[in-house]
């Protein structure tokens, strides 16, 4: 089962000699040492490694707040069109097709989010958050209104905190109320003239809709702050609620969860940002507009500038466009309906307490007196991918579960079986799990204590 590293199979050191180099010796390195294998050997290496990996075509991927839904195969073919493979410095007149797609995607996203203007540049959700917060900052500064704080619920994704901090804001953390939602009184106390923005995920990270959203928006706006929507869970609301209609001023879209772009084992993603009209002048540059049937790039007047060297993750945007166009209004609405139905059905089949309800697309079950991480490892032995564990922190031994709409009932029943069986297993079985996987339980603590981050490091260790 074990696959050696490329360099362990064969590596060669190639010297760079001045006589057959086009450069003087002092401008070149001495040698290059790299794996040296033929194509058949590489094909087997990578095929084998792929077989040691779990993708959404292997089975459900119910990581709450992260998750994966089926990535339609045709979107890959569309993105592979050679005519779409152009350099970012091409003249606008020579890439009208690409610009048209980007323009239409800006438009689609604006409609879906209830926003007035959209930038497609941020290359991931976190980059979108950062861009969005920079927009808020630029807006406040333009209004002579420097502010120093961003308010974020404790249950929010870690990126919210980090993005706000990167933009130079102090973070004010907001506790959840006992129902699992924003504690409105605590919010009241946290808001002030220093509040630049409140960042909110809705439904929140245990799947609950923030019922007081209209009041919350009013409170934030009353102190001159802006309301930021973390789009991670927009996939629960399609066709039933739009951030723009709820009073949000800025939002980012999560294209992998909402629009089924492949996650690629950790990226590339895309984090388009939508804003209300008043904030549009601050969006990153360039954006795309249409003038007399031609598409052109333009810099918004008060643009914050750029958050990516070029225009972001183009191929991901193409796939998102293709997905949205494939589903249309009814398909998008149905995807949310089925995602919510699936989460509710799955929860109904579990022998676990789910402390917070009514949830939508995801729910936080609790492992009670068991260790959620152990239960998850045991689930691996039942052939499924477990949920997100021990997060959000206010749920004890949380197992945050999000099955998405692509699972059918059989697949949810299998998943439920794995949940329930793992919970019913002994402590010892849990502690020894997993045993049927490529690797057994991996000791992350010792891996972090003495980090070995390359084959050179392993070599040095005599391994």
């Amino acid at each position: 089962q074990y696959e050696p590293l490329l360099a362990e199979k064969n590596a060669t050191r190639v010297e760079i000699d001045e006589e057959d180099s086009p450069l003087p010796d002092e401008l070149t390195r001495d040698a290059v040492e790299l794996p040296d294998l033929s194509e058949p050997e590489l094909a087997r290496h990578y095929t084998r490694l792929s077989q040691m990996n779990w993708g959404v075509e292997s089975g459900p991927y119910p990581l709450g707040s992260c998750t994966m839904k089926y990535n339609p195969s045709f979107t890959e073919d569309v993105a592979a069109d050679p005519n779409a493979a152009v350099h970012p410095d091409r003249s606008a007149r020579s890439v009208q097709g690409s610009l048209e797609l980007l323009y239409d995607l800006q438009d689609y996203l604006a409609r879906i989010g209830g926003m007035d203007a959209v930038t497609l540049q941020p290359p991931a959700g976190a980059a979108g958050e950062f861009a969005g917060i920079l927009v808020a900052k630029a807006y406040h500064e333009a209004n002579g209104n420097d502010r120093s704080e961003v308010v974020i619920p404790a249950s929010a994704h870690g990126t919210n905190f980090a993005s706000a901090a990167m933009a130079g804001y102090d973070v004010v953390e907001l506790p959840s109320d006992e129902d699992g939602r924003v504690d409105v009184d605590a919010l009241e106390a946290a808001l002030s003239e220093d509040t630049a923005a409140l960042m909110l995920t809705n439904p929140n990270t245990v799947g609950l809709f923030e019922r007081d959203i209209v009041d919350i928006a009013e409170m934030v706006h009353d102190v001159g702050g802006l309301l930021y929507y973390d789009g991670a869970n927009l996939n629960a609301l399609l066709g039933r609620g739009r951030p723009g209609d709820m009073g949000f001023d800025i939002m980012h879209y999560n294209v992998h969860k909402t629009f089924a772009t492949p996650h690629g084992g950790g990226g590339p993603g895309a984090g388009p940002v939508g804003v209300v009209e008043e904030l549009a002048p601050y969006l990153p540059s360039p954006r795309v507009r249409e003038r007399g049937g031609n598409y052109e790039l333009f810099d918004p007047e008060e643009s914050i500038g750029k958050v990516h060297g070029y225009q972001g993750n183009w191929l991901v945007l193409v796939k998102a466009y293709a997905y949205i166009a494939r589903l249309g209004d009814e398909g998008l609405a149905d995807s949310s309906a089925k995602a919510v139905l699936n989460a509710n059905y799955l929860a109904s089949q579990l022998d676990y307490e789910v402390p917070y309800e009514p949830f939508h697309h995801e729910f936080a079950a609790t492992a009670g007196d068991r260790d959620a991480a152990d239960v998850a490892k045991r689930m691996l032995d039942y052939g499924v991918h477990p949920p997100t564990t021990k997060w959000p922190e206010f749920v004890p031994e949380a197992m945050l579960t999000e099955p998405t709409e692509v699972e059918n009932r059989d697949s949810l029943d299998d998943l439920a079986h794995a949940f329930n069986a793992a919970m019913a297993d002994s402590d010892e079985e849990l502690a020894n799990a997993p045993s049927k996987t490529t690797a057994r339980r991996i000791d992350q603590v010792s891996a972090a204590r003495e980090p070995r981050l390359s084959w050179r490091a392993l070599d040095a260790d005599g391994e």
């Binding site: 992260c66 991931a124 976190a126 130079g168 609620g241 996650h263 991996i442």
Partner: protein, 440 residues
């Protein structure tokens, strides 16, 4: 044409049974959304079938003109072997999530470990992360790192006056929440003006950034001196480069680079409108300040080697506002493709490809210089892939005329064009030269 999502598998009977199991009358009743914010409008997006969409988008992209691109300046296309497309598309790789359960994602973790390892070999630095978004954000993260590390106390970030505008803007944004300020230093005939730089660097300098090759394609000749200047001032030396250049040009560690950033997707990806792969490598001492994901080798319960994401306490999902960066999703799949491409080339292939970047640029510059009204390269330096050409006529007009002939080049000054040649367009250089003759 489609009712509902084609990717939601529920039959009507299944939906009914599941609603029954949860005790709901219909799907709508599962949504706990107050009436006043309930959306009852339409997006107005019409669903299309798969076949219709493939035709539609094929027609859309066909509206891009087919130009032979001699474009570079940070985004480079080289031939990507079929094997890379083929295997990277396998769903186990493409549709996997971040490796939160390493026991069933050893395959991707090993690929990322191998990617890191290749960068360690090529940069000579012992730590490389799984990726940043692109060269611009990698540079910006390097500046932020310089602001975190103990041995550096300053706030000035020095960059070349020729820094690519996109990189500069990203850098400005990334340091906007810190005490750092960005200043430029002058260039001298396409290389760093080392004397001028030496004057500008002081103990309040946080980082010096230089590139090899530069954005204008020139190979930097005095890298070690730059490294020394930075070192003498207790300042980080950040070197920008790309993964092909690493196969031939001076090894970053050997010239004193503390951080190496740049584009790695010159291998592994076709030109994709600027989509990138930010490489990021650094010294051991900055390990716990590194942004982004790291894969480490460890052991499983059976004592066998196993890979896992490591040092996650640096990251946003654990450290929140005290994380080294907000980055979460990165460019993992691009890194996989790049690693596969590097492996496909092997050391000989990489070195050969890099050598061609020098010789092809040299030949093309010479051929263009033979034309009346063109002098190339403008800088009396060795070049890598690309070079700037002076044109007697306005560059904008020439580029526009070349476009009509089917070629794209950069305009980088009133009388300056920049031309980039790689294995993808090398067979078309005669045609380019002929087109130049035509339009001059």
């Amino acid at each position: 044409m489609t009712r509902g999502s084609p990717y939601a598998p529920h039959t009507d009977a299944e939906t009914a049974a599941m609603l029954d199991a949860v005790g709901a009358d219909d799907e709508e009743s599962l949504f706990d959304i107050p009436e006043d914010v309930r959306f009852d409008g339409e997006f107005g997006i019409e669903a299309r079938g798969e076949r219709e969409l493939r035709t539609e988008l094929s027609d859309t992209f066909a509206r891009n003109r087919r130009l032979t691109e001699f474009l570079g300046r940070g985004h480079h296309g080289h031939y990507v072997p079929s094997l890379v497309d083929d295997i990277s598309r396998r769903s186990e790789f493409l549709t996997s999530y971040t490796q939160y359960q390493p026991e069933i994602t050893q395959g991707f973790l090993q690929v990322l470990f191998e990617y890191q390892s290749m960068l360690v070999e090529l940069t000579g630095l012992p730590v490389a992360n799984c990726s940043m978004y692109d060269a611009a954000t990698a540079l910006a993260e390097a500046a932020r790192l310089s602001n975190r590390v103990r041995r550096v106390s300053g706030t000035r970030v020095l960059v070349p006056e020729t820094l690519h505008a996109g990189k500069r803007s990203v850098l400005d944004n990334y340091v906007s929440g810190t005490a750092l300020t960005v200043e430029t230093y002058p260039m001298d005939d396409g290389n760093v003006d080392v004397d001028a730089l030496a004057e500008r660097v002081d103990q309040n300098t946080s980082m010096v950034y230089a590139e090899n090759p530069t954005v204008r394609g020139a190979i930097e000749e005095r890298l070690s001196e730059i490294g020394d200047i930075a070192d003498d001032a207790n300042t980080l030396f950040c070197l920008g480069t790309d993964i092909v250049a690493l196969g031939l040009l001076e090894e970053p560690a050997s010239v004193g680079a503390d951080v190496v950033v740049g584009e790695a997707d010159a291998l592994g990806m076709p030109t994709s409108y600027g989509m990138g792969l930010g490489l990021f490598a650094t010294r051991e001492e900055f390990l716990r300040q590194v942004p982004g994901r790291l894969v480490g080798a460890g052991e499983d319960a059976g004592g066998r080697r196993a890979y896992t994401l490591t040092l996650q306490t640096r990251e946003q999902h654990i450290r929140k506002e005290r994380a080294t960066s907000n980055i979460c999703t990165n460019q993992a799949w691009v890194a996989l493709r790049t690693a596969m491409h590097v492996a496909s080339l092997g050391p000989d292939g990489l070195v050969d490809l890099a050598k061609r970047c020098v010789t092809d640029a040299e030949s093309l510059a010479a051929e263009l210089s033979d034309l009346n009204g063109v002098q190339a390269p403008v800088h009396d330096r060795h070049h890598f892939r690309e070079f700037v050409a002076h044109t007697d006529q306005p560059a904008e007009a020439i580029a526009s005329d070349l476009e009509k002939e089917g070629f794209a080049v950069h305009v980088v000054g009133e009388h300056e064009l920049q031309v980039c040649v790689t294995d993808l367009n090398a067979s078309k250089t005669d045609e380019l030269v002929a087109a130049f003759e035509e339009v001059l």
